[in-house]
């Protein structure tokens, strides 16, 4: 009986280690495949090179980094205020009756596959930018032109996609603010708006901040949606109506036809992406801990 129990305990321990082993394997295989070209080409040249033309074996990923950053930044500019507003509404303003369905709707947003968002962007947003947004921009700069595949399209769709992350984590942080804070503020004569703006949101700031970092990680790592709507042109963009290629989109698109060296270069992009995401995750966790997040 005793040895049977021991054997089972071993088995369970092994199962628990599977995730750790997976992370190790993923790291090893991505690095093993991508590292040779990274070293041979030069890490700095690879990252700062402004020309990505794999057919000529020129691998500079600066345009891809700029593309990813532009789309992510745009998504954050739109998504963060919206997400925080939703979180404040859900936790401080909405009645229980409206909060329930609203929350369910936000959860549903998280469940929709990214390729569906991409398809929606492709069929609705891209033409809308071409037909309605472009004329507005042209009033200021008549030379501007766009196919609709653009930073703007990617930013809008990504903003919707990162909403659930921001809303649910920020809401947790806001809900976790002790009730005494609210009562003390109200007792001092502050109204509800002042209490929210000056007491509750500042008290929940570490949770909100880490939700933004995680959302940023999600936006950087997102593939299918940006692949369908950003145009995948590896060039330095001149305006938000220009097409860009992102790190993820380039990997997904070019893996299907890449030759051996090109494939290695795509794995090298994977290494860069992997490192960026790791740093963001560690940062988010550190913020939670260090700032003594109320829910951290």
């Amino acid at each position: 009986m005793k040895s049977y129990e021991k054997a089972i305990e071993k088995l369970i321990l092994i199962s628990a280690i599977v995730t750790t082993v997976s992370v190790a394997l993923i790291t090893v295989f991505i690095f093993k495949t991508g590292m040779p070209i990274l070293l041979q080409y030069g890490v700095m040249d690879f990252i700062t090179g402004t020309d990505w033309s794999p057919t000529n074996e020129i691998f500079g990923i600066m345009p891809l980094i700029i593309g990813t950053l532009a789309v992510t930044l745009g998504a954050l500019i739109i998504g963060v205020p919206t997400g925080i507003a939703c979180a404040v509404y859900l936790s401080e303003i909405a009645s229980k009756k409206t909060a329930g369905p609203f929350k369910a709707a936000i959860e549903l947003l998280a469940g929709i596959p990214s390729v569906v968002y991409g398809f929606f962007g492709l069929i609705v947003l891209v033409p809308a930018i071409r037909n309605y947004i472009l004329p507005i921009f042209q009033k200021f700069n008549p030379e501007l032109n766009t196919s609709g595949f653009s930073i703007l399209a990617g930013a809008v769709i990504l903003a919707i996609m990162i909403l659930p992350t921001i809303v649910s984590l920020s809401e947790n942080a806001i809900t976790a603010v002790p009730h005494e804070f609210r009562e003390a503020s109200l007792a001092l004569g502050a109204n509800k708006r002042e209490t929210i703006m000056k007491v509750i949101v500042p008290a929940a700031k570490s949770g909100i901040f880490s939700s933004v970092i995680l959302a940023m990680g999600r936006a950087i790592g997102e593939t299918m949606a940006v692949l369908l709507i950003t145009g995948n042109v590896a060039q330095m963009p001149g305006s938000i109506l220009d097409p860009v290629a992102t790190l993820t989109g380039t990997i997904a698109m070019e893996m299907s036809y890449a030759g051996p060296t090109h494939q290695q270069a795509l794995f090298a992009i994977g290494i860069i992406l992997f490192i960026i995401i790791m740093l963001l995750n560690i940062l988010a966790q550190a913020v939670m801990k260090k700032m003594g997040g109320v829910n951290g």
Partner: protein
């Protein structure tokens, strides 16, 4: 600005932005359902595609999705549940355990395209499984593990200590207690994890794209290449094959997600009632 206008502006902005979030959801879901539902006919669900997906249905693709998801769930469930049992029932708060936990979190944060690259390098090439149901399923297994572990662990935590103590004091061993008392109490938590994992597996595209090949023919073995609905949607959308079929595929995916969300909500609601 006096207090009154400040308040009006504040509540106005909050309301507007919240409405914006809601409207974008309704627009996306509504638009795709309205455009896609007419295309979901019995033929669409039961026939094979012809002319590169331009005509016919998507039966082999539905089957392919089922196979890949099933492989992922069958492998991930025992591992995920066991891992959760380890974290909640066996482990102490040592440095080693904290490290394992940390890596589980890390795994949850890795972007799907990285899983795709890994699946390609490891399962497809290194293990020689080729572009296949198995390669895709195994890649998804790793992806959904954190979801499963988290859901199971959350529900294990809700089982009162007194249940375990009662069982142990009756002479049951630790393992007997887990199997006969603790786990049965959190069936619904495990189920929620399973359903969420399933949703993730069905909707995943980037990881699957680099590991299952993308063939539209009916997969006959685990080593055959196949195509999932999400991947199919990407392919016909980017190739602009047929608007009707693309909308129908997207609508089908949304319906599946709606069903999965409803079930998961229902289960967690009944769980709250119980506790």
């Amino acid at each position: 600005m006096n207090k009154k206008t400040k308040n009006a502006v504040f509540y106005g902005i909050i309301g507007l932005l919240s409405a914006l979030a809601l409207i974008s959801l309704i627009m996306i879901v509504g638009f795709i359902l309205i455009k896609g539902l007419p295309g979901i006919t019995p033929e669409f669900l039961t026939q094979s595609p012809s002319k590169m997906g331009k005509e016919g249905g998507i039966l082999p693709i539905i089957i392919g999705t089922l196979y890949v998801t099933l492989v992922a769930l069958v492998i991930a469930t025992p591992i995920g549940v066991a891992a959760a049992i380890y974290f909640n029932e066996y482990s102490r708060d040592t440095r080693g355990v904290r490290m394992i936990r940390f890596f589980t979190e890390v795994l949850a944060g890795i972007p799907s395209i990285i899983f795709g690259l890994f699946g390609f390098a490891f399962f497809v090439v290194f293990l020689g499984l080729g572009w296949s149901v198995l390669s895709g399923g195994l890649t998804l297994t790793i992806m959904i593990l954190p979801t499963l572990i988290r859901a199971t662990e959350e529900s294990l935590k809700t089982v009162p200590m007194s249940y375990r103590e009662g069982s142990l004091s009756l002479g049951a061993t630790k393992w007997q207690t887990i199997i006969k008392v603790t786990l049965p109490c959190c069936k619904s938590g495990v189920l929620t994890g399973l359903i969420l994992g399933m949703g993730r597996a069905i909707g995943e595209t980037a990881a699957v794209m680099l590991t299952i090949g993308g063939s539209m023919r009916m997969a006959e073995s685990l080593l055959d290449p196949t195509r999932t609905m999400a991947l199919h949607l990407y392919m016909i959308a980017s190739e602009g094959v047929s608007e009707e079929k693309t909308y129908a595929t997207a609508a089908l995916l949304i319906i599946i997600v709606l069903i999965i969300n409803t079930i998961a909500n229902q289960i967690s609601r009944s769980m709250i009632k119980l506790s």
